[in-house]
Amino acid sequence: MITKINKILGGSLMCCAVGTALMSLSSCSDFLEIKPQSEIILEDFWNEKADVDNIVAGCYSALLEDGVRRRMMIWGEARSDNFMSGENINSDGDLYKVIQENITAMNSYTTWDGFYDVINRCNTVLKYAPGVAAIDPAYTTGDLKATIAEVTALRSLCYFYLIRTFRDVPYSDEAFTDDDQTMDLPATPFYTVLGYLIADLERVKDDAVVRYPETKPRYQTGRITRDAIYAMLCEMYLWNKDYDNCIKYAELVIQSKKAYEEEERNKGGRGLANSNQSIIEARLNGYPLANDNISGTRFGSAYEAIFVDGASKETIFELSYEDNPSNANMTNNSAISSLYGNSTSRLGLLAATEVITEDVKTASSRKVYEDDNKFLDARLYYNCRQEDGAILKYATSSVTVDGSRAGTGTWNSSAADYSWFPQNSNGSKWIIYRLADIMLLEAEALCQKMGEGGDADVIASNTPLLDKAFTLVNAINKRSLCKALLTGTDTLKRADYSTKSLMETLVKKERRNELMFEGKYWYDLVRYCMRANSTQEIIDAAQNRSKDVNSSFVQSFFKRMDAIFWPYNNEEMKVNTNLVPNPAFGSGESTSYEKTK
């Protein structure tokens, strides 16, 4: 029996052996050519519109990654006096060091790879999308131009984050695909990069999508539109001290938003009954901001519309997160959950500083909130919890302010109800640009155009600028007052802000209040300092962080302009010797003998 089997096996073996030998000899090199099955290789990709769309979506989803988002928050605000260490800060030692102003090149928050990942994805699209347009008739020239505008804007946004953080960064508009490309690029100076970004955006702005299809309501704010590019140009021009262009683009955004609002209202899709329209317009000085309740005593719908629901009429560009945890294919807003808090641990790694929480108790010359409105400002309730500094913006899924309790003239902590997002499913949208931001940027630019001194002609030329700036600020301020019908005593008075410096202070204060915890304030401080060529503003701010930093140390530390930027990461400098380390920061390595004394 066994022998029989063996005979059969032996025969088949022979066939098998001969067969394989023949096969292998005939196609020797083909045999060694295999393709991955779970991935697509370059040669098979970039054939049709869907390929381009997929990578473009990948550019966005890379921005949503926790590492990138965390850095947007930490780079943009953690060193400012809006934040102090919260609960369990020891669990993130590097963040604690950031808060303590003890940043070294070893700190993990000095890594930037997430941003360059997005940049490289954008560059890859720019490299290959024209080829797709050439072979796929469904991908039209118009589509291609829109794609180019979209990814150029995303790339510019990333570079803008990088230069605001590190000042000079390696700049490349080439896609990296091969390991023999030159990667250790030297850093390009701040203003040079900024110039590139402005030029790029100016070039593509008219190709960008103005309106996404109505069937995709989240695209309008979740993806790059022409308005988003205008908004970026507005801010970039402000950093570039080109105030006229800043104002120009701010106005373009405002006009566009107004037109959109008009259109929507005519369609009856959005907006309120016409009877209320005039009341809202009066309150918001005609700006299409997301309005809060205008009747009754419950306020907080503006907060929910902007930060929780997303795609609000005020929003220009946001990172659109998903809050449904079962939808695991999309990134959850986990950075908020850990940094700001969640329903399980309401105090996150970060908390609002005492400057912000104490402000409520001071009756006059407040540092953050306006004196005039006393306790009517809804932002008092949804920025943070005044008792312990727990951050509520983005961390809560709803904040309801009881206007009848808030408006009594004394501080009433129980005037608001919050409900936090659960730990694993924060679905808040991260706002990159919204109208209030742009309006305040315009107001800032207007201030910069004002002249100094009390001469009559200065006053005369300043007055329209002051008027305009006040209108902008006032609209934002009035929007947040939790009172249905405003009286004169509730609102800011134009007469109080009659000089450039008073108006400048008002704009800064309102900007800090309105955009608190949105990852903007540190960048604002850096801009103020660069403009003034003095770090005084940051030194003053650092004095408010006495819980975490040594005030005499920061006093001397921030004397140099270098200190307001971040050091390059150690590991980065090891592989890229063309990077010149920021002299304000230690490497974190064992220091030299001289230095340790």
Binding site: I2, T3, N6, K7, L9, G10, S12, L13, M14, C16, A17, A21, S24, S29, F31, I34, P36, Q37, E39, I41, L42, N54, I55, A57, G58, Y60, S61, L64, N102, T104, W112, D113, Y116, D117, N120, R121, T124, V169, P170, F176, T177, D178, D179, M183, L185, K216, Y219, G222, S320, N329, Q423, N550, F557, N570, V575, E589, S590, T591, Y593, T596
Partner: protein, 1128 residues
């Protein structure tokens, strides 16, 4: 059956009779021997090539009849034990008497023992490369359960270190030092079984690392099946394996059947294993006391650990306001609760035998094992079948099949690690709220809810599961099926013996089928968290891997008329193709309460299904030649060409040549005088090149894969930077070996010296500037590294023999030195860690022209007796001279205080004559560590301020020793007395240092983990003289556990690997029960380790870039085995 036979016979006879005598179509006759008729003898018609055309078997009376095809053929009569007779077919009746084969006198059988394996079948004495062979006959009757156990300490230059004592976890093997710097390219030697390489690719599967996989390879072969082990060491030896042989090769040859009547062997081994204990842990009472001090010390505040802050350590009662108070009053020995004595039983049955045409060997075994950790269980069934069939003298077909099924019930958590850390005042079982007695519900620290207890435990104790509960309730089951069918055909195309030119063809087809399944369930009882936060989690996964290999070899052996020349040439083509796929699903929120529903598809929420697929192919061409002149001047040459899918079109083929020479000096005429003593002397130089390939496919392509979606858009991203010009890593090695034999081979010595240089090293996860969008590329060719070393091994062949007594010795030692010769500066920079000033942080330094594994740290000088303020206040108001005098007296009394001193031991005073405090990492720019840490104080560690700058910082770090041993090796003795045999084997390592991180963590007293009893000797109050610093909570509140010579220990050891006593009962005493042999043995494995090392086991892996660190893995267990082997 018999009736049928007789009918057939009658018919055949009838036919024969009717046929004319002119052509013979059938033959018949009777066979007999001295004892009478032969039943079952073989009669066959054999053609000119030796192929069997017809055959018949004699019946009960020795009669046979057989049809004949061709009269030109021959007829052959054979019977086991009798001499085969071949006669021409010229008659129809053959009546023969066969004579016993054993009666033949004076026949000199000249056969040469030839090398087995994948290379040329060279006579063993002509082998010119470095290899070492271990014949399993030496180990016969020994109770080895795995191959690596048998190899340990036996092979010079082979270092085997068990990864941990867990069931089914593997060992790390390093032949001649660390071959590779990269973690992704495997550094273990290649394992070859009967010429086949097991190619399994389960990369994407969640397995506990590649080492387990490697180990499984060895586990899947039962030691009972192994005939011999051959370890190939130098490049010339490994040349036939080309790029696969870069780390050396271990060739295993399995046993095959032999002619003879079926031979049955049954082996049973019973083994008990237990774990060495290691350091003693604190009891509950000691632990709570330590914790109280730990919280008090940093704050100097009595309320720091009071019942409001940490109710768990305050022995509260029902009035304390802490609902869980009953659970925290115990003295639990968690380690004791999770360890046990493991039991193992191995059964193995083999049947071997065969006749002239075919031989067979069938083995089957079953192993059952329980671990030294509770609830670990392993069942294994293995079988191996080897069949050989001789179609003719020229054609032989072989078929082999092996199957191993393993079912491993593992623990879901690392029980021992948890047990060592878990608070001992907590109870295992929940207490009855009324009686206070243990219930049968396991207690887990609350992780959520209003009665959660102190927040100080949130980062540690609260996350530690109850290890006893985890062992009993969680499920983690692994099942593996491994099948290896093989078909081989040998065809001798030309001559059959050495007098003719021989051309032999060998073709084989081999498949490897590996299936792996993993099922896990983690019940909610182990997690006291909310339902939404994912409880009752379950996952199931499987992976399949199939590989196919075919080899075609032609070997030409010319027959020279001049017998001084002998040569052999071989050409081979080999092709491998394989694919693997895996999928897994996990779910949570299963509706299970008692672990009854454990499948992820059972109605829970499906979490993240995933799947993967991969594929690989390669082709190899080998040419190998051997030439010997006068049998004493030998030259070998091998060239192998490898092609694989892992490289891009430009660099797809690698060329690996090797040359080796041998001069058998002792065969020279002028050496003959020395023959009586120096019976053998040979010199073997060799040179060769091997290679190494990356462990991943598709590296040379740009890949695009999917990523998380955005809004409703599916998204993709570029996955990699393609490696356009990645090359093979080359390993070039020189070897010089000397073989010595004394007293007619009774004492054999081999000495080898080698130098291996790796160039174009494949550095894995190579960091690139991240402005390229990626942080790393998977591989990059860079650097040059050299391993040099020497080895020495001795074995004896009955070196001492007196009557019934004989004794043998084997010994080996080796030394390897590793050096980086070239490397890009920034790779080096990247490999070198930056000192982060944290407790327990090891500093890694990889420097050019230096070996790996150097240990750096501080010098430790005990504990400061007095506080800084005590000293400062004592000298306040004194003049400078008084202070100096006070200091002199202070130090003379042996007292210590944390003050800075100059190089000559004098106090450093500031402008106001206040002594300066010893600080830690003070930096003028405030970025140092002295901001939060005010400086050292009483009870803190004294580190030597080497540069006397008044502070401890990175500049005080000094070299503390090397992790590389000066010598490693082993030796063993075996004694025979009659039927008794005692063998012992020892391994040792000399002159290496180990960082005992396990002890560091067990004496740190900075967190809430349980500590070793050594901390009972901690500094508690001023004036205490001790070497254990004070308890201080917080990772930055103190710097008492920096890496210092306090934790760097000498790892020198001598281990007795095993001692085994065996006894075989002679056949003559067994005939009455019909048995051939019964042997008994008792062995003890790892009974003792002689070492000064304070950890559990000094067997710590070394050889990577990092120094050797003891992380407290499960130590190698001790085992006691009783075995019996019965031969039928």
């Amino acid at each position: 059956m018999r009736i049928l036979k007789s009918i057939m016979m009658t018919l055949a006879l009838f036919a024969a009779m009717t046929a004319g005598a002119q052509t013979i179509t059938s033959v018949h006759g009777t066979l007999s021997d001295d004892m009478g008729p032969l039943m079952g003898a073989t009669v066959c018609e054999v053609d000119g090539t030796g192929r069997i055309i017809n055959s018949a078997i004699t019946d009960l009376n020795g009669n046979f009849t057989m049809k004949v095809k061709n009269q030109k053929d021959h007829i052959r009569f054979s019977y086991v034990g009798l001499k085969t007779v071949t006669q021409p077919i010229n008659k129809t009746t053959y009546n023969l008497k066969l004579v016993s084969a054993t009666q033949i006198k004076e026949v000199v059988v000249k056969s040469k023992k030839r090398a087995q394996g994948n290379g040329l079948p060279i006579p063993e004495r002509e082998i010119s490369y470095a290899s070492q062979k271990l014949d399993m006959k030496e180990l016969e009757g020994l109770g080895m359960t795995t191959i690596d156990e048998a190899l340990q300490g036996r092979i010079a230059g082979l270092d085997i270190i068990s990864n941990s004592g867990d069931l089914g976890s593997g060992s790390t093997m390093r032949l001649r030092g660390a071959g590779s710097l990269s973690q992704l390219t495997d550094a273990n030697p290649l394992i070859v079984v009967d010429g086949n390489i097991r190619e399994v690719n389960l990369d994407n599967f969640d397995m506990a690392g590649a080492n387990n996989e490697k180990f499984a390879e060895l586990l899947n072969i039962n030691p009972e099946d192994i005939a011999s082990i051959n370890v190939l060491k130098d490049a010339a030896a490994c040349a036939v394996y080309g790029s696969q042989g870069g780390n050396g090769v271990i060739e295993l040859t399995t046993k095959r059947g032999s002619r003879g009547k079926p031979h049955v062997t049954y082996t049973l081994k019973l083994t008990a294993t237990h774990q060495p204990k290691g350091y003693d842990l604190l009891s509950g009472d000691d632990y709570t006391m330590m914790l109280k001090e730990e919280y008090f010390n940093p704050r100097q505040d009595d309320n720091a650990s009071d019942q409001n802050r940490i109710p768990e350590i305050n022995y509260l009662d029902e009035t304390g306001g802490f609902s869980e108070w009953r659970q925290y009053r115990d003295n639990t020995d968690w380690r004791d609760a999770v360890t046990q004595t493991g039991l193992r039983q191995n059964h193995y049955v083999t049947i071997a035998g065969g006749g002239e045409k075919a031989t067979f060997r069938i083995g089957g075994g079953f192993d059952h094992e329980t671990g030294t950790m509770i609830e670990q269980k392993l069942n294994r069934f293995s079988t191996r079948v080897a069949l050989d069939y001789n179609v003719s003298q020229r054609i032989r077909v072989q078929t082999n099949f092996s199957l191993t099924y393993t079912k491993n019930d593992r623990n879901s958590d690392d029980l021992l690690a948890i047990a060592l850390k878990k608070m001992p005042n907590m109870s295992i079982y929940e207490k009855d709220p009324i009686t206070g007695a243990d219930t049968d519900v396991y207690y887990n620290m609350l992780q959520s809810g209003p009665y959660i207890g102190s927040e100080v435990f949130s980062g540690d104790q609260r996350t530690y599961v109850n290890p006893v509960a985890s062992a009993h309730l969680a499920k983690n089951e692994e099942r593996n099926y491994d099948m290896n069918p093989e078909l081989v055909m040998n065809y001798r195309l030309l001559g059959l013996d050495e007098d003719h030119w021989q051309l032999d063809y060998r073709g084989s087809v081999y498949m490897n089928i590996a299936n792996h399944y993993n099922d896990k369930f983690y019940p909610q009882e182990l997690k006291t968290i909310n339902w939404e936060d994912k409880v009752n989690t379950s996952s199931t996964g499987s992976s399949k891997s199939v590989s196919f290999n075919t080899k075609h070899t032609l070997t030409l052996t010319p027959a020279f008329t001049n017998k001084d020349h002998s040569a052999m040439v071989m050409g081979r083509f080999e092709l491998t193709s394989g694919s693997s796929s895996s999928q897994s699903t996990s779910g949570y929120g299963l509706p299970s309460t008692d672990g009854a529903i454990v499948s992820p598809s059972a109605g829970g929420l499906i979490d993240s299904p995933s799947s993967s697929y991969s594929q690989w192919r390669s082709m190899y061409y080998t040419v190998s030649a051997h030439y010997a002149y006068k049998g004493r001047y030998v030259a070998d040459f091998t060239m192998r060409i490898d092609g694989t899918t892992r490289f891009g079109p430009g660099n797809r083929w690698g060329y690996f040549p090797s040359v080796s020479l041998k001069w058998i000096v002792s065969d020279e005429a002028w050496m003959q005088k020395l023959k009586p003593t120096l019976s053998f002397l040979a010199i073997r130089p060799s040179w060769g090149r091997n290679g190494r390939q990356p462990g991943q496919n598709y590296l040379y392509t740009s890949k695009y894969g999917s990523t998380s979606r955005y809004i409703d858009m599916s998204a993709m991203k570029p996955l990699n930077i393609r490696l356009s010009d990645m090359k093979w890593e080359n390993v070039t090695s020189y070897n010089l070996g000397i073989d010595l034999g004394f007293f007619d081979g009774r004492l054999n010595i081999a000495v080898e010296g080698y130098s291996t240089t790796n160039t174009d090293m494949l550095m894995s996860s190579f960091r690139i500037p991240s402005n390229a969008g990626f942080k790393t590329v998977p591989y990059h060719n860079n650097g040059k590294m050299r391993n040099t070393g020497w080895e020495f091994h001795i074995n004896t062949n009955r070196v001492i023999q007196k009557g019934k007594f004989s004794m043998d010795v084997n010994a080996n030692f080796g030394n390897n030195r590793n050096e980086i010769l070239e490397m890009d500066e920034y790779i080096l920079n990247n490999k070198n860690s930056t000192y982060g000033y944290a407790n327990g942080e090891t500093l890694r330094r990889v420097q050019l022209h230096n070996p790996f594994g150097a240990i750096y740290g501080f010098k430790y000088h005990g504990v400061y007796q007095y506080n800084y303020n005590t000293f400062k206040n004592a000298v306040a108001g004194m003049t400078k001279d008084e202070i100096y005098a006070y200091w002199a007296k202070f130090t003379a009394e042996g007292k210590t205080a944390p003050v800075a001193t100059s190089a000559d031991g004098q106090l450093i005073l500031d402008a106001n004559d206040v002594p300066l405090r010893m600080r830690y990492d003070y930096r003028i720019d405030g970025t140092g560590h002295d901001g939060v840490f005010p400086g050292f104080n009483g009870g803190d560690a004294i580190y030597e301020d080497i540069n006397h700058d008044g502070q401890i910082n990175a500049l005080d770090i000094t070299y503390l020793g090397s992790s590389l041993p000066k010598l490693t090796g082993g030796f063993g003795f075996s004694f025979n007395y009659g039927d008794w045999r005692l063998s012992t084997q020892f391994t040792y390592r000399v002159g290496n240092k180990i960082i005992n991180k396990a002890r560091l963590q067990a004496e740190a007293m900075t967190g809430n983990d349980n500590q070793s009893q050594a901390v009972n000797y901690r500094w508690r109050k001023e004036g205490d003289v001790t070497v254990i610093p004070r308890a201080m909570f917080g990772s930055t509140s103190n710097y008492n556990t920096l890496i210092s010579d306090r934790f760097v220990e000498d790892g020198t050891y001598l281990r007795m690997s095993y001692a085994q006593l065996s006894y075989a009962i002679r056949k003559k005493y067994l005939t009455w029960i019909g048995l051939n042999r019964i042997s008994f043995y008792a062995s003890i494995n790892n009974p003792f380790v002689l070492t000064k090392y304070s950890g559990v086991d000094p067997d710590i892996a070394f050889g990577g870039e990092d120094p050797a660190i003891d992380w407290a893995q499960t130590p190698r267990s001790r085992s006691y085995t009783l075995g019996i082997t019965v031969d039928l």
